[in-house]
Point group: C2
Chain length 405, copies 2
């Protein structure tokens, strides 16, 4: 099978090394480099408490051009004041120095820094300073190099998350490939913690910015594991133009590119939910019949974030009263008499009362690995929303009751 990792995109090289931040000895410093300056757009967390790399990254993204992303896992560099900002800048400076040939130079602002892990600790800069030359030396365009990158950004994730697609545009083949990390502290408003998508498309900055915004709202912002919006969420797209297509600026080409970007981001979003901390199931919550888009979103999120819903799903327990009652407290307009609640393809509640659906069949559906919960709010409105989430297990408690120590 051909390379489908992030290095499958022309002109991108990647690597990861273990520099000693994680006590487990797993890779914790990852680097993605575009050989040419890439048009770049990013979306960051909406949390008011933000990591130092977010503050630095927002400023570096202003010009819409990037050469590299440097990411450490194991420490988030959040709540670290001026020292944290200096550390994030130094990561960029060291990276800029390492990825160009001797004698050349690269501005600090061509590098996007990210850090993920525990909040409230300073970065171990001695380890990062020593690690950056090593990860730069390891850069390659092989599948192994791409896979190493997707592993190096993980924290409590059990599996790497990657996605790949191609599209044809004006006789040229464009590749889009990316990876992300995210398993805990996952909730809408940048749901991902970290996601990087590389493409060789030639695309104008305004078109890329429109694409990333539209796609984020329908993918990463529709994932929730535990309703806890992270301080470090970052989703960046780098487009280096090496596919040599006519630069995408608007219209049908932008639409086609955005659809392909959506496919990649949607796949990564589902992978985050499926690998939620302690998760055993991928759950899709669908709301229809809402008065407004905001109502549809509120109802979907109330269901997806309810611990009672998530434990019922974990137990394969056909306790659908928890689904409909979560919609009921979400604040969304609702007409209970006209509401419908479905589990998979089985309608369990309609006309204000339970249907005569066989609870054994509902239970069987709820025991599957992939499950869809559907609630029509009965308002006669046309708005809909869809959220990806997972179940809540004892394993989630085990992972999170003893994390820093």
């Amino acid at each position: 099978m051909p390379n489908r990792s992030i290095t499958a995109v022309r002109g991108f090289r990647a690597a990861a090394v273990a520099c000693g931040i994680k006590s487990t000895g797993k890779p914790d410093l990852a680097l993605l480099v575009s050989d040419r300056p890439a048009t770049a757009a990013a979306v960051f967390t909406t949390n008011k408490v933000v990591g130092a790399p977010i503050i630095v990254g927002r400023s570096h993204l202003r010009a819409g051009k990037l050469r590299a992303c440097i990411i450490n896992s194991g420490c988030a560099n959040v709540c670290t004041g001026a020292r944290g900002i200096n550390d994030a800048r130094e990561m960029c400076l060291d990276t800029a120095t390492q990825i160009v040939a001797e004698g050349e130079s690269l501005p600090l602002t061509s590098i996007l820094p990210s850090s993920t892990g525990v909040i409230g600790r300073y970065l171990p800069m001695d380890k990062i300073r020593a690690g950056i030359p090593l990860v730069a030396a390891a850069l390659g365009d092989s599948e192994e190099a791409g896979n190493a990158f997707s592993l190096g950004i993980l924290t409590t994730d059990l599996v790497p998350k990657t996605a790949f697609t191609t599209l044809r545009l004006g006789g040229k083949t464009i590749t889009i490939a990316g990876c992300c990390k995210g398993s805990g502290m996952i909730a809408p408003n940048m749901a991902t913690m970290l996601a990087y998508i590389a493409t060789d498309a030639a695309i104008a900055l305004p078109a890329l910015r429109r694409a990333i915004r539209g796609v984020t709202d329908r993918t990463f912002n529709c994932v929730t594991v535990d309703q806890h919006t992270s301080t470090s969420d970052t989703f960046a797209v780098l487009a280096n133009g090496m596919a040599e297509n006519r630069t995408i600026t608007s219209g049908a080409a932008e639409k086609k590119f955005t659809a392909a970007l959506y496919d990649v981001a949607d796949s990564l979003s589902q992978q985050i939910a499926r690998d939620g901390e302690g998760a055993t199931k991928l759950v899709t919550v669908k709301i229809t019949g809402a008065k407004t888009a905001h109502d549809a979103k509120r109802a979907a999120e109330a269901i997806a974030n309810s611990a009672l819903v998530k434990t019922a799903i974990h137990g394969g327990d056909p306790n659908w009263g928890r689904f409909i009652s979560a919609a009921g407290y979400s604040g969304a307009a609702m007409n209970v008499e006209k509401s419908v609640c479905g589990v998979g393809k089985i309608v369990v509640f309609k006309n204000g009362r339970p249907t005569d659906a066989d609870l054994k069949a509902v239970q069987h559906t709820m025991q599957q690995k992939d499950l869809t919960i559907h609630v029509n709010l009965g308002t006669g409105g046309k708005s809909t929303h869809r959220v990806y989430t997972c179940d809540l297990s004892r394993e989630y408690i085990a992972i999170n009751a003893d994390y820093t120590t």
Copy 2:
């Protein structure tokens, strides 16, 4: 020790029996009767999906007079359409018939019905019909009878929750005593599921209504176990006037009565959080320095409802980044540079960076049974809020992953 149960209030009798709704054989039908018509006020759930007893109860409370509360546990009578409404009315009718002497009659509307348990099932009316004469025959004013009542209303609660106080008013002693149930599906906007407070105070209906509203906002509406607002929440106060005080209508007497009612409701609220499903700790979240009361509430609730916060507390893990980051995504205005985060009496974050607090001491504080988390949002505002919650344990998952089946 004298009787401090709900039957310690003059003119109130109580009882509970096992009528067979709960498969465990535990008491599941409870009755509270005032010998005289009592002035009564109640607060119900804000969930848009409401149980049939809530619909019936709201209508019965309109006149502000009650003689009795009849409560079954084990089935919530929610999402049950017209049949559910008829069943709730029949519970009231049967109770009204049973609690008066032969030949006398009592209107249906003097009875408040409540049901708690699984949603989406019809009440087993054969069992309830047979049970009501039994529970009426068991009515008594002994401590045992009061304790039986507080046990009969429980579902997944591990312990009964009761509170008692007295106050002196115009030379008369007024007694206020109550009990509640609540352990799962507990979140603000009537946090309690079911609470009944009896008093022998003579109080005018408008004053009682003001008292119950004010007290609810500062007590039951400040508890969250799992953020899931129940469809059955009910908090009722019955005041039968047998203390023979001058009827409370306003002013200093109302203030004094409201303060005593607050003490009873506040104690019951803390007991709910402490007995939250799977809980091992009582956690108090305090917000200060908020711009508005709404902001203070949002930030407190975001912290109290975060699974990451609750698991860190369960593990006694000094991972305070989870507290401050939950405030950060709550939507409340926040000035991170001027925010302060405290764990018990230890300040862990200030001036935008970690303090040099000893993490071992923080860990020791976090391992206590009672824990206070404090976040000052740093806006310079004067608004504050306080929420009671509990930790999140494997036991919560065990209780909720296999509940109906």
